[in-house]
Symmetry: C2
Subunit: 278 residues, 2 copies
């Protein structure tokens, strides 16, 4: 076993997933669909959400604290289900932590590069994710031919949290954010924030209406679940249990109407939730 | 001097003002207009904004930490320029702290009760402010005749921070939030969040369009400045300096495009800002 971290060899250990809030539950939803036998411990840092407008130093500090909670719970790997953290803190987490850390940006960027086939890729994300340049870097690592344009879309997270995912307000906000991307010729749009899958249909419809042609939408949650499945298979640490794996939710604050919001992201009834201090 | 806190007697000491973020700068703007000779130390807890979705315990903990920073800077009184903190933590701050603490809700509620003259008062606020019931309580203390209806309007803060303060998206969002208040017969609308003064014109226009009559809009920032002026006069601790008073800004995180957002709230060029840890 020398040279291999002992935690990694525990097939039955849970996956650890964290996010600044509840948006990362869209990644949990994709993971449970793709890997139904895996148990998951999810930590939502709801006391300090959102990270998207914070400085890099602050995001790194918060992310390390979240990861440590999951490590204390014996997880075999950590999935950073937050584009902002994946954008600004993934390298530091990989250096500092003694277990595998997977983000949401690399899988989304690879899927986008493959779908774009040399054409322009548009990315919607929080201010922090777009400013970080993480998507252009990750796409460049996956393909030498793709051009990436980014658009910060700060209103989309509050729209999703408010539950306004169809109707005029999200349609107008989405089209205002899409317009500059499509004007630059984007053929593929990456949903670069874990909240955005709930706006998938509005984004697809508006993109095709504005562009007058087919626009491919890349959901980084689904791409991440695929990458996690490949990782567990390659390392030989996939769960051998029969489905369904367990799901434990930890939060740092219990926001109002928690269950409604969480169920919207998770797509299933929310299990008991534990509030912890960070 | 027995029985009177010595800090209170210092006319030349600054006023301390804090908020979860930068929205409280609309209160600073109103204070500087009403009390140009007063110096102000403002603390925006930008690393932990927004408070509006957090639990009461968390808000109290954060508010005490903010107040202590201001006390260490020698302020003569504290203005809580945040409706959420005023709603859930003002009583505790008054018990715990050894100097005068003024909030934004009492002055706004008094102005609304006076303007409503027995008719229905509608309040727009964050989820936390509305759920707290602080406005109905404060209005009841000011008038036995007024009825208060509240509406949580979580999208308005991000709209203001994004700078979308006119056009279709704010118009539709505002009218969706106003509609239930006007259906209940509101003749007066209170802007129950320090971000909302920037949407004053949209709110007034939409309210009058939907109601088909004049609707009075109460800006709690202006009402608070009036209450602070009265307090300083009554206690004999108003500054005797000639204008203009100094303005010091402290923040706990330096968000992207800080100056643009801060200038929008403050209505003047933003002075040097100091980042501190809490």
């Amino acid at each position: 076993m020398t040279g291999e971290h002992p935690i990694v060899s525990r097939r039955s250990a849970p996956l650890g997933v964290f996010d600044s809030g509840l948006g990362g539950l869209t990644v949990v939803r994709a993971l449970r669909k793709r890997l139904p036998g895996e148990s998951i411990v999810y930590l939502g840092d709801t006391a300090r959400v959102p990270y998207g407008t914070r400085s890099s130093d602050t995001v790194v500090k918060y992310a390390l604290a979240c990861a440590k909670v999951l490590i204390d719970r014996g997880v075999k790997a950590i999935v950073v289900a937050c584009n902002t953290v994946s954008a600004v803190a993934l390298d530091i987490l990989r250096v500092e932590l003694d277990l595998p850390v997977l983000g949401v940006i690399e899988p989304g960027a690879r899927a986008a590069a493959s779908a774009a086939d040399g054409e322009v890729i548009g990315v919607l994300g929080t201010t922090g994710t777009i400013a970080s340049g993480a998507y252009p870097r990750a796409v460049a690592a996956a393909s030498t031919r793709a051009e990436v344009v980014g658009q910060a879309a700060p209103l989309l997270v509050p729209l999703v949290e408010e539950g306004w995912i169809d109707g005029e307000v999200p349609r107008l906000a989405v089209s205002r954010y899409l317009e500059p991307l499509l004007r630059r010729g984007a053929k593929v749009i990456v949903l670069g924030c874990t909240h955005y899958p709930l706006l998938h249909d509005v984004i697809e419809r508006e993109a095709e209406r504005l562009a007058g042609r087919r626009v491919r939408i890349i959901d980084s949650a689904a791409a991440t679940a695929e990458a996690v499945a490949a990782f567990l298979r390659e390392r030989g640490v996939a769960s051998e249990a029969f489905p369904p794996g367990e799901l434990h939710l930890l939060v740092t604050d219990l926001p109002q109407s928690f269950s409604d919001v969480a169920r919207r992201f998770l797509g299933e009834t929310v299990p008991a939730v534990t509030q912890i201090d960070l």
